[in-house]
Amino acid sequence: MPEKLAWKRKDLLGIEELSKEEIELILNTADSFKEVTTRRIKKVPALRGKTVVNLFYEPSTRTRTSFELAAKRLSADVINIAVEVSSVKKGETLIDTGRNIEALMADVIIVRHNCSGAPYILSKSVKASVVNAGDGWHEHPTQALLDIFTLKSKLGRIKGLKVSIIGDIAHSRVARSNIWGLTKLGAQVTVCAPPVLIPPGMESFGVKVTNDLDEAIREADAINVLRMQFERDNVSAFPSRMEYFKAYGVTEDRLKGAKKHILVMHPGPINRGVEISAEVADGPKSVILEQVTNGIAVRMAVLYLVTHAQGGAI
């Protein structure tokens, strides 16, 4: 008899609304899909005849490519809409764009938007499944899932792990999704950044807050180093990249006080010599490229689950 599946959601909008069991279901499903990505023919027919649309209002290489590859490995047809060259430039609203995409018989819309909450609005106005590929400063659920998946496959568990998230916490959707996901699965999370980059009330997320990088590194089983988002023009608190690197850049030297098995993660793209040194990014503790590989398996799992959400999908 098939085991019962708990997945009932039409959409994947964020980690905050997921239960521990739902997160575990995605991770376990991703495990099976990782095996598919190692086959001679890396393609299965599970989404044959379905159409997946990538709707990106912000630039992205890794996330868009990863979703595209994931959909193609499930045999779906994929369309990429980059907003710079679309009718949005002519004034079309998000909801109208969404409905038009749906009129093309799309089954899944993967959306990245610079406004927090945009995927939620879209999901209410279309029947297609909506997957959040990053909304403003809010959530980036598949990034957190692939970070957690990588941690679990390298360290064997999540419960009881100490994970430090280092960098621009204030403007990071990756940080928020990771915090929700990791704490739900029983990890202890520390966030570390200069005071200006930590939003007030951070403790209410159930995390430890520190401004001391060495402290954040010392206890950690893994560190997740966030990118300084210079394109968002929100780091005026720091006079220069050099100064940030000196105070908060993760280098071989600063990792000397770390646990031997410490894993270094980064959601990419890396600013070498700003938040992380080249030696660390390319070094033996880094799992940055494994994160990218795992991202495909995790996104295959998400696409599979949302398109086959069971009756009475919410």
Partner: protein, 181 residues
């Protein structure tokens, strides 16, 4: 939807004897065991495959590679099934090109599971041939598929269910005919 048990079709001894007989038949038909591999369909087919490999080892002294496959992603009814099955890993860590594959499942019914398994196997390579071994053939085929090795033929009606229980998963070896309620 519940089931009521109607009759025990096979007990532990009958299951064991059938699997030993089928293992002999496989060896009789495949005299050269060098290219022989066994692949079981999850979940019960995998367990039966392991037992057959152990039988073949005992009879011929030869180690036969065993793989396990999950056919969920190849199903033609993914959008229709009431209870979505959990996707499990396919583990075939040997080359199947040019091999003689014994594909193993517990119950042969419509043949659709076997169709999925054949499609998936072909994506792994080009075997010399694929032979099908099932513990129970309950009839009602919807596709032109037949088994090469059968433990027991059991005529059934469509409102019945055949449950194969194996000690590794269910604590006991038996085959039971159930009535859908």
């Amino acid at each position: 939807m519940g089931f009521t048990e109607k009759a025990k079709i096979m007990d532990k001894e009958a299951v064991e004897k059938a699997l030993i007989r089928m293992s002999h038949e496989i060896l009789e038909k495949n005299k050269d065991t060098d290219g022989l591999v066994i692949v079981g369909i999850r979940n019960r087919g995998e367990l039966i495959a392991n037992r057959m490999a152990a039988n073949i080892k005992e009879i011929s002294g030869k180690d036969i590679p065993v793989g396990a496959m999950d056919i969920t992603l190849y199903r033609d009814d993914l959008t229709q099934v009431a209870e979505q099955p959990v996707v499990k890993e396919t583990v075939i860590d040997f080359d199947i090109n040019g091999k003689m594959i014994i594909l193993v499942d517990d119950v042969l019914f419509t043949g659709r599971t076997i169709r999925c398994a054949l499609d998936e196997l072909i994506d792994f390579g080009r075997p010399k041939n694929i032979q099908l071994a099932v513990l129970i053939d309950r009839g009602h085929r919807e596709l032109p598929i037949r088994a090469d090795y059968v433990g027991k033929n059991v005529p059934t009606s469509l409102d019945e269910v055949v449950e194969v229980r194996l000690s590794e998963a269910d604590g006991t070896d038996e085959v039971v005919l159930c009535q859908k309620n």
